[in-house]
Symmetry: C2
Subunit: 772 residues, 2 copies
């Protein structure tokens, strides 16, 4: 008898997709080709703002090997896409709003012809002055990016008010004020935006695309191109990275449009890295004014802040990113009085949208610097100050939501406090060499899970016992590397008591799996996992129930699932799963269950500003510690040690858990030290990995991952989402470590050598004070 | 807005099938014809016992219009059918065991040719002496009906022993002994055994048949004919009566066999009334020796009984009928010491099997007469005696099973005690005319629900929201008139909050509905109803969950189902069910749920005798009261008044409930007064409704139906099965009333005028004593 490898929950297990990925057998969207493949490419605007006069495609059309050259006029539907506001054309028709805007689509026999044809397309514009930053956008006489938008260049203005922040400031013993700025950054996934599409003989359009939201894609295509949703099928293989950048239409509508012009031949589009930088979505640049007041003993008392997010040329998820930023603006702390204002602004910069830490990475930097400045002012230990003010169950957060669910921030901070990296920091700092300074910084972070109020954070799990008696999970949420597929296999294996080898998992396919929302918001394992538990429990009951019929067992209690079979406990009679499955009809072999994430019951009135996505009930927490060494000659920061204590509920798979923490911190280190999408008048100055610097393996220190395991009662086996929270820590932790090392209070990220060196010089010049 | 006609549970509602049945639109199996229809018929043995020498079919085959004449040799499979023991040939191959045995099957163009062809078939037998009764069967030198059966003519011998009955008898102050006999009776349904069958172009065999067990039929056909189960489809329309007589293969295997020889043309078979009497199943004739001992105060103390059931030529459900008889042999009373023995015997009489009151109707007569004899002996009121000994929750019944579920017999008896028919009985009895005597009798009855231990009493409900937004229930259990279809429509309507007109119900079809066992054992509404509740709750959740996706509701709690639509409570936004269904895939629109009836935890050791069907956990109860007037000149009993108090848990539909009670009592009155299948040397002497007398509408008195409503915690909305319990009451209640009227203790049923007159004469002769 094979010893069952269950229970599986809580055990380290290799990723379900590891072997296939390592061996190259797993096919990402970019690996999909088809017979008689065609290629498609896009002519980009190249100017940041202008009215479209004419798109001259005649020359391109004449080029041998070109099948179609399409412009806005050729789009049969609304020609508009966008998750919340449909303001982005598939192919521009009236004006262009950023350099990466698509003005024409070419379909041709090969990529070289596509490239040549694009070069033959002539576009005439009537230029309009561009809006390239927050101040520009807010100017009363500013040209409008979207003339029809009633609020001008303000996509969304919102306010969260709890208590009486202005009055409460007067009651504070210490008040800190500061302004912070963070730049636009890119997801920099290895697999760029890409896909392949074709029409089936019955006229249905099929896409295999690198996407985080296949079900929403179908709706975007349907809306933009006027194709009925049930005539579209989207298949979403494993992603070579997503991080939010594939949460929304990139190639989808373009490819579906192209596929209407190929006579059934498949057509493929792969964005180059430059195109990905120019036309893909970004993390929002932000400017943040903070005013934080506390009592003498360190108790936080009042917070005022004004947050400005540059959302670029189209709305995309800008309003929602800002909402989440505002919701997290006060950190994971008790602050009785808050006034948080936000402005999300249209500009002619590249489009900003979802990125891991969705609006939160920005404010985490600001607020966690504020906490250190406050500790300094009150002469308190920065870690003690955080523990003192940390949210606990029953507290209200800065948006007035009562923490009814697992709230492990204090425990994370205590884990860090007890760790040798903190305990022995003084000794470590003293052991530095010449022209080098050492410092240790901490940051407390948190990140909401799920969509928040106003729309259902729903997943519909589907699990099948195949006619061969195997278990097949039809995942409804993409695995872009986070490892949810492994968690799902664990859940099914645990409940159905089957060997890993007997469990298959299909990545989302709108024809086979069921709508389960996007792979985003740290929600996939939580939401789909909860749905899957119910579906698997139902399947377990169903298998045992049918076995009862076949074994003439008068109660299900006498039957038990074992790997590959059901056993009658009293008699020892067994029946293979395959025999049971053979008796079932197709509809019986499948179990389906929907789960909707619970929502916060108490929510402050924020008027009509936040129709969706605010507030949240569930949060994951983290305490990060960075040990840095600064080169006084170059300004370079070397992260020598890093520890993160995380509360993401129960740990389902320690190995995958650690991988998520490591990945998030590595990405956060890029945000902290080097990544900056530099844009000048709408034109990207860092269009490739030679100029846009992401950390390599050698730039990432050894990371200690500690777990402050709580049990989240609403979660699958007690877990919470882990995908994002870790990204928010490195920038503030490193900035705090830098301050500790060099007494430099940096307000602009990233902390590049140039910027640090300049700050050190300024400081010297001004005689030791902070830079302006 | 249409006012929703919910809640529906507990309300009187017309039967869902009433209009279609009254107008003739509903198609019973017998109403199914097909294009190019052929007919099939059976050549019957005509002798009760003999070895088959030769079946000469040549002449019949030659007859123009004859397509096939088949014998046992032409049956491709095992040629054996039978629910528990496969001992009954489809077409006899070695011997015949009763006059109705099938020896050849004719398929021809019309019924006349079938009849003629049958008359041309010559059969040669080597006759064997027949076994025509219990004494015959038990003779040591008796010829064997089934030579291979290891116990000779004893199909099953079993014993239930609790306490020490023999010893306990010595402790009794009063002991009664008596022997009772009941005859074989027929179900006498209006629609005889019939069906139509054909082969589809893909070779699958389809049957539309008047059956109580379509899923088991598939298995019987598969076994007997060697056709794979998934190549057989059985469709079971509403039945024109069943009562147990269609629980088992009648025409099924014959028709499926015929359909293999028609080149795809449909073939129909309808048994004549004579054929139904000869070849259909019957209620078992039984002989019952009883010995009952009690304490002076009336407390029952010990019971000994020996029950003999004549199961006829084949096992069919004989063993299980006897088991249920034995389980009910001690009535719904506390008796600490019991020894119940049973013998189920093969004879060459027609086959006995399931019939409403499955083994229980027989013992109810015996035991309830015993109770009256005991009351008389102890000079106690017979109703008080019953109440005193009535089972209550926590008691053990005569088989050692603890009554953990609703146990309403005392309350039924009290309802009867309080009723004017009982309260004013003396006055009523005194008001009789010349040569007429009046008497009032009571009886306490009960009847187990479900299959009992050893096999799962399982149902798998399936409910769908159709693409049009209607609700369709795929019933897995037949409605043979009992009204379960109406209960199912009520359940679905209640949970899904839909109008009656929006709910469709399909009768079982093995291709569309799911295995849910037979329509028998008072189980259909309980078992399928419980499964349906879960399926409907899941469908409700599913509809609301999808509506949440479409209305962007962040929690299902804000949504409510209304007739034809889902409503968002806070905003008043509504979405039609049709629109929701349109978004669902086929697999999402269907919900499936299985339920298995709970089983008794404590069961006496009965050795290997009862492998299935013993004991039971759940019982329904009834107290019956009959007011009779006896004509001293003719012996005719006229039932002048009748009241029945029934505990079948919560009443889901008072109208249908009352109809079931009325129907059961009407049938029970037939059993009490007139119905007797007289068989002489295996030949039926009462082959038609001129000689086999069932009560007409005028023979049934006004019946008062009282409900002693309990709440059965395991039941759907608290209900229990009601189909059978009422049948068990009339014979003992009327016999007790007759005893009250004329001081006649009858031990043989039915209480025909001839038998009563003879008993009165005997009594006069013997000077007032009871007849021998």
């Amino acid at each position: 008898m094979i010893k069952p490898s269950v229970p599986k929950i809580g055990r380290s297990m290799h990723r379900a997709d590891a072997a296939a990925k390592v061996s190259g057998a797993e096919k990402y969207a970019i690996d999909w080709y088809g017979e008689d493949l065609l290629w498609a490419g896009v002519k980009r605007a190249g100017i940041p703002h202008g009215r479209l006069r004419c798109v001259e495609t005649e020359e391109a059309r004449k080029l041998p090997g070109v099948l179609a050259v399409l412009t806005g006029k050729d789009v049969p539907g609304t020609n508009r896409q966008g998750i919340v506001h449909k303001d982005q054309p598939v192919l521009c028709d009236e004006k262009v709003r950023h350099c990466g805007d698509a003005v024409a689509l070419v379909v041709a026999e090969d990529r070289e012809i596509v490239r040549k044809a694009i070069s033959l397309i002539q576009v005439e514009f009537e230029p309009i002055p561009g809006i390239f930053g927050i101040d520009d956008a807010l100017r009363p006489d500013a040209p409008l990016v979207h003339e029809q938008h009633p609020e001008g260049n303000i996509l969304l203005k919102a306010e969260i008010r709890m208590g009486e922040a202005e009055k409460a400031m007067a009651e504070c013993d210490a008040i800190i004020e500061e302004t912070f700025e963070v730049p636009m950054v890119s997801h920099a996934f290895l697999e760029p935006e890409n896909g392949v599409a074709w029409q089936e003989s019955d006229g249905r359009t099929v896409l295999v695309v690198s996407t985080q939201a296949p079900f929403r894609d179908r709706w975007e295509i349907s809306h933009a191109l006027g194709i009925s949703m049930d005539r579209i099928r989207v298949i979403a293989p494993y992603l070579g990275g997503g991080f939010g950048g594939k949460d929304g239409a990139t190639v989808q509508c373009l490819l579906a449009l192209a596929a209407q012009h190929t006579g059934g031949r498949p057509v493929k589009m792969v964005w180059s890295r430059e195109e990905s930088f120019a036309a893909g979505y970004k993390r929002h640049a932000a400017r943040m004014f903070y005013r934080l007041g506390a009592r003498r003993d360190g108790r936080l008392h009042a917070l005022q802040c004004r947050l400005y997010y540059d959302t670029g040329a189209y709305a995309h998820l800008g309003g929602e990113v800002m909402a989440l930023g505002m919701e997290h603006a006060g950190g994971p702390y008790r602050i009785p009085h808050t006034l948080i204002e936000g402005w999300c602004l249209y500009t002619n910069n590249p489009i900003a949208g979802a990125m891991r830490g969705f609006g939160v990475a920005q404010v985490s930097f600001a607020f966690e610097r504020m906490m250190n400045l406050l500790a300094e002012k009150l002469n308190l230990d920065p870690l003690d100050l955080r523990i003192q003010n940390a949210l606990r169950e029953g507290d209200k957060n800065c948006c007035g939501v009562t923490m009814t669910q697992s709230t492990g921030i204090a425990s994370c901070l205590e884990k860090i406090q007890q760790h040798p990296l903190w305990q022995k920091r003084k000794e470590w700092k003293s052991r530095t060499g010449p022209f080098r300074k050492r410092g240790v910084g901490v940051a407390a972070v948190f990140n909401a899970m799920g969509y928040g109020r106003g729309l259902p954070d729903s997943a519909i799990a589907k699990v099948e016992i195949t006619p061969e008696g195997r278990i097949r999970i039809y995942s409804g949420v993409c695995d872009m590397g986070q490892g949810n597929a492994t968690a799902f296999a664990q859940i099914a294996g645990q409940i159905l008591c089957q060997e890993d080898a007997a469990i298959e998992l299909l990545q989302p396919d709108t024809d086979r799996s069921l709508p389960s929302g996007s792979a985003s918001a740290s929600r996939t394992t939580y939401t789909y996992g909860n749905a899957l538990i119910k579906a698997c429990e139902e399947l377990r009951k169903r298998i045992i129930g049918w076995a009862a019929l076949m074994l003439l067992a008068d109660t299900m209690e006498d039957l038990d699932l074992h790997p590959g079979r059901v056993r009658h406990i009293k008699t020892g009679k067994e029946i293979p799963l395959q025999d049971i499955a053979a008796m079932m009809t197709d509809e019986v072999r499948v179990c389906i269950s929907q789960f909707i994430m619970p929502v916060a019951k108490d929510a402050l009135d924020t008027g009509k500003a936040f129709s969706i996505g605010f507030p949240h009930l569930l949060f994951s927490y983290g305490a990060h510690l960075a040990c840095v060494e600064v080169d006084e000659l170059t300004g370079a920061i070397d992260v020598k040690g890093y520890a993160a204590a995380t509360d993401a509920g129960r740990v389902l798979n320690p190995q995958v858990y650690e991988q998520q923490v490591h990945g998030a911190i590595a990405q956060g280190i890029g945000y902290a030290l080097s990544e900056e999408l530099r844009v000048k008048e709408g034109r990207i100055l860092t269009p490739d990995f030679a100029t846009y610097i992401i950390p390599g393996a050698l730039d990432v220190p050894e990371i200690v991952s500690l777990t402050a395991e709580t049990y989240e009662s609403s979660g699958p086996y007690g877990m919470k989402g882990l995908g994002e929270v870790g990204t928010n820590g490195p920038l503030p932790a490193i900035a705090n470590a830098l301050a500790d090392a060099c007494d430099l209070s940096m307000t602009c990220a990233p902390l590049t050598p140039e910027r640090v060196l300049r700050a050190m010089k300024e400081k010297k010049k001004s005689g030791g004070g902070n830079p302006p």
